[in-house]
């Protein structure tokens, strides 16, 4: 199990080089995709068993990692502001000696981390894909504060977990209990809404952005605003689909994101990035 020092914590990372999961390695420089998972009930396993192998087989260098507090990455008691998640990723890419601008693909909160990384490290981001996510603006922190406070109240109650088991099955109940443990043992619920944000005009996001939504989740209401504010933006709204786009439509998601990454792959960006930094 690969662990890399990322600032004050140790981060669990899994890589699948292009061609490692079958298929053939591409000629020339492969694109690199960094998958960023969601909050509380999630880990890199969501990609390791779905998009990760498919992307590797399609000739993409894949990086998957556990966010701080999640999976097998360290869980400090404090320090869960958005900028901490973003800095972990910057340290991680340094540790992996990854010099290519990366295609960031984030699910839910992971998409927010991806967008924030692109805003604060523009030279390192080739593109951003947000799956059922909001960009890191002030309104987002309000939504998160509400949701996290509710989750912290409920997920520590046995009756709430029993209800989840009845409604959604034992698997979801187990995930929810794990989420409750994170909320009870860390300051994550207060930290995330109190972190750094970007301006509402989204001008900080300068790379191409793909946003995928389910039409039943409510987040798809952002589509007109994203398209108006971002110069290079594609939005896709999947019909009859709620928030769990990645889990419920893995094949569709894979095809959408692979096409997107291929269309935005510029081989030799490594050299260009170095030259750009020198200017």
């Amino acid at each position: 199990m690969a662990k890399i020092r990322t600032g004050d914590i140790t981060t669990h990372v899994q890589r699948l080089p292009a061609g490692a999961a079958g298929g053939t390695a591409p000629e020339g420089e492969a694109p690199v995709v960094v998958f960023v998972h969601g909050l509380l009930t999630d880990s890199l396993a969501s990609y390791y068993f779905t998009l990760g192998p498919a992307f590797s087989a399609a000739g993409v260098d894949v990086v998957m990692y556990d966010l701080r507090g999640h999976g097998r990455t360290d869980r400090p008691r404090t320090g869960y502001q958005l900028e901490a998640f973003v800095e972990d990723l910057a340290y991680l890419l340094d540790g992996l000696e990854e010099e290519r601008p990366v295609h960031l693909v984030g699910n839910s909160f992971g998409g927010t981390v991806a967008a924030a990384f692109a805003a604060w490290h523009p030279e390192r981001a080739a593109s951003v894909t947000m799956i059922e996510s909001e960009p890191p603006v002030a309104a987002w922190t309000g939504h998160m504060a509400e949701g996290l406070a509710h989750a912290r109240r409920e997920l520590v109650r046995d009756e709430a977990i029993d209800w989840i088991a009845e409604q959604h099955g034992a698997h979801t109940a187990r995930l929810s209990r794990g989420a409750g443990r994170i909320l009870a043992s860390t300051t994550l619920a207060e930290d995330i809404p109190s972190g750094r944000v970007i301006d509402d005009d989204l001008s900080a996001i300068r790379c191409p952005l793909l946003a995928v939504f389910g039409d039943e989740s409510g987040l798809s209401a952002q589509v007109p605003e994203l398209e108006a504010k971002l110069p290079d933006c594609r939005t896709v709204v999947l019909p009859r689909q709620g928030h769990s786009v990645l889990v419920e439509q893995p094949t569709r998601t894979r095809d959408l994101v692979l096409d997107w990454v291929r269309a935005h792959h510029v081989p030799g960006r490594r050299a260009a990035a170095v030259a750009g930094a020198a200017r």
């Binding site: 199990m1 079958g22 890199l44 396993a45 068993f49 192998p53 590797s56 556990d66 097998r72 698997h171």
Partner: protein, 111 residues
């Protein structure tokens, strides 16, 4: 890597690719997983990773790492898992993984 035992007939008891040997190997890996709490777990072919061992999916990632360390290129767990749907992963038995590993080892031997 070629030995007398592995060049003779398929399924030879005690050979590395024998299902019984692979099962014992995987059971050992599972008991040694950090943070999974399986030190004394009973593990058979019918054991379910999710419901019986209560493994989280992140534990399966660690198991895939152990398999890669032990068997190297001969067993591609990522490829095996890429072919499964999420509900199939949740319903995965130890025996299914054992069969895949054993078959991969035999295929590698045949070259």
């Amino acid at each position: 890597m070629t030995t007398e035992a592995t060049t003779t007939a398929t399924g030879t008891p005690g050979a590395e690719h024998d299902e019984g040997t692979v099962l014992r190997q995987i059971a050992t890996m599972l008991r040694e997983l950090p943070d999974a709490g399986l030190d004394d777990a009973e593990i058979t072919r019918e054991t379910l990773f999710h419901d019986d061992l209560e493994l989280e999916s992140i534990d399966l990632v660690a198991l895939a790492g152990s398999l890669r360390e032990h068997y190297g290129e001969r067993v591609n767990v990522a490829l095996f898992i890429a072919d499964l749907e999420l509900d199939e992963i949740i319903a995965l038995t130890v025996g299914q993984l054992v069969d895949y590993v054993a078959e991969s080892l035999r295929a590698a031997e045949r070259g």
